[in-house]
Symmetry: C2
Subunit: 280 residues, 2 copies
């Protein structure tokens, strides 16, 4: 059985002329499926809506996407209690060449894959991560969006594919920390949380949004602001967020060390209460 579904049917291939393949002309969402439900669904829909607006693709209706996802889940052999769904919305086929009009009927693909919760120890002891050499381009017209143009993340993530680190931090050309290759990063100093702005590069994760919103609701000072590499050593706590694993403490990056502190534990506890069960 195929991992991918198109219009309710298993599918293994797409046409070569699909603009998603030719130019990366499309978007995707990677959604945690927990007990058969799509977690943070509305946040995924919000980001996809923003992406479609920027790319000039008509946003599929939420009903179409949720029923397509349900059909795919029903046919998948993955364990629906704990798996991951990928929705790709591409500009589909059309005229050759970069230019195109607004896309009214994008190609919508649903992929369902097995997933496994990270080891519990990682949440207690924190992760060892690395600092990537690959820099993110600045002032990207698709900054913050999860488009099919992901070469920067491919290059950055491939740097440590052999060395066993869980994640790597990426910077812009000016040594500002931006995000991880597949996660967002938060810093804690004097119980105040900050996370880099993603209006010039990087991807705005749905779990990042959830952390920002719930932390503020719980009375923790939380800011979006730049952080330069030179400031990283003087941070009290560092943690990552991602739609699949929730929030995870970082204990080291290159030669820098941090402890798993009070604020990180508090954020994890808030998330656990909100149903991000990995953070329990």
């Amino acid at each position: 059985m195929s991992d991918w579904f198109l219009k309710g049917e298993p599918v293994e291939q797409i046409v070569v002329s699909d603009r998603g393949f030719q130019y990366g002309d499309g978007l995707f969402e990677t959604i945690a499926i927990r007990n058969g439900q799509a977690r943070l669904w509305q946040y995924h829909m919000d980001r996809l809506t923003r992406g479609c607006a920027v790319l000039g693709i008509k946003m599929p209706s939420e009903a179409e996407l949720s029923s397509g996802l349900e059909q795919a889940l029903r046919q998948s052999q993955a364990l629906l209690a704990y798996c991951v769904a990928k929705i790709i919305v591409s500009a589909g086929t059309g005229v050759r060449g970069y230019g195109r009009k607004m896309v009214d009927s994008p190609t919508i693909l649903f992929g369902i894959f097995p997933a496994y919760p990270p080891p519990v120890e990682s949440y207690h002891e924190g992760l060892a991560i690395t600092l990537c050499k690959t820099r993110l381009a600045s002032s990207s017209p698709v900054a913050g969006l999860k488009t099919l143009n992901r070469l920067e993340q491919v290059l950055a993530r491939s740097e440590f594919v052999d060395t066993g680190e869980f994640e790597g931090l990426t910077m812009d050309a000016d040594d500002n920390i931006i995000c991880g290759t597949m996660s967002n990063v938060f810093f804690v100093t004097n119980n105040v949380i900050s996370t880099p702005s993603l209006d010039r590069c990087g991807v705005e994760g749905v779990m990042r949004r959830h952390v920002i919103e719930t932390s503020k609701e719980q009375g923790i000072d939380t800011f979006v602001q730049p952080l330069h590499l030179s400031q990283l050593e003087n941070i009290d706590e560092v943690f990552l967020s991602n739609s699949q694993f929730g929030v995870m403490p970082v204990r080291s990056c290159a030669d820098m060390r941090w402890s798993v502190g009070h604020t990180t534990r508090r954020v994890m506890s808030i998330l656990a209460e909100n149903g991000i069960t990995e953070c329990r």
Copy 2:
């Protein structure tokens, strides 16, 4: 008959899991076929070799690429006297997720499409082009390369899909002119040619390289240097280069006007002598 060929056979589809589709993890070349021959073949091979090195893809042998192209041309229904070939080299299928090892056996696709020479008047009178609102991201790790991540060009080119301009110039966030959406741009002042550096964004066209090299050989001062939008009005001549059309003069961009001058005509004449027959 399909426009696309894989391993010598017509093909209409690729697997959904191809990293070219999932992440834009790959490269391409768009080659002018003239009288059955691939024009500027070695320059295309050089750029593809650079791209493969940056992306961590084993460069296919030149023999494999040229015999694959010949097989595709033989089976194509396009007019081999004048058509365009697109070679896509993608990272192919592999593990899910951004990270991967070096790709030893990339997916290689050959597409053959009809092409038509631009009207002769354009070469005499020059083109009307526009200035795009879409800005190119700076300090890209894949600057200069022709990767499958082409959303910037899609967005910029789509700005004027309805208005009939032939091309649009793109800038970085600091108002430096970088290139066209599908061409490179040259400026002439006091018979000196300059073209923007593409080490932070943009695509290094094969015809740009040909213009730089042949102009220098013919004793025309030719430099790679930045040009700010504010300097554009005071330029004597502007022309574009592209693998398909060669070199074309620009007569206007937004509210700026230039005449088709001596140096542009001289470059066109040099190119025509070198077999870029469109410039005759």
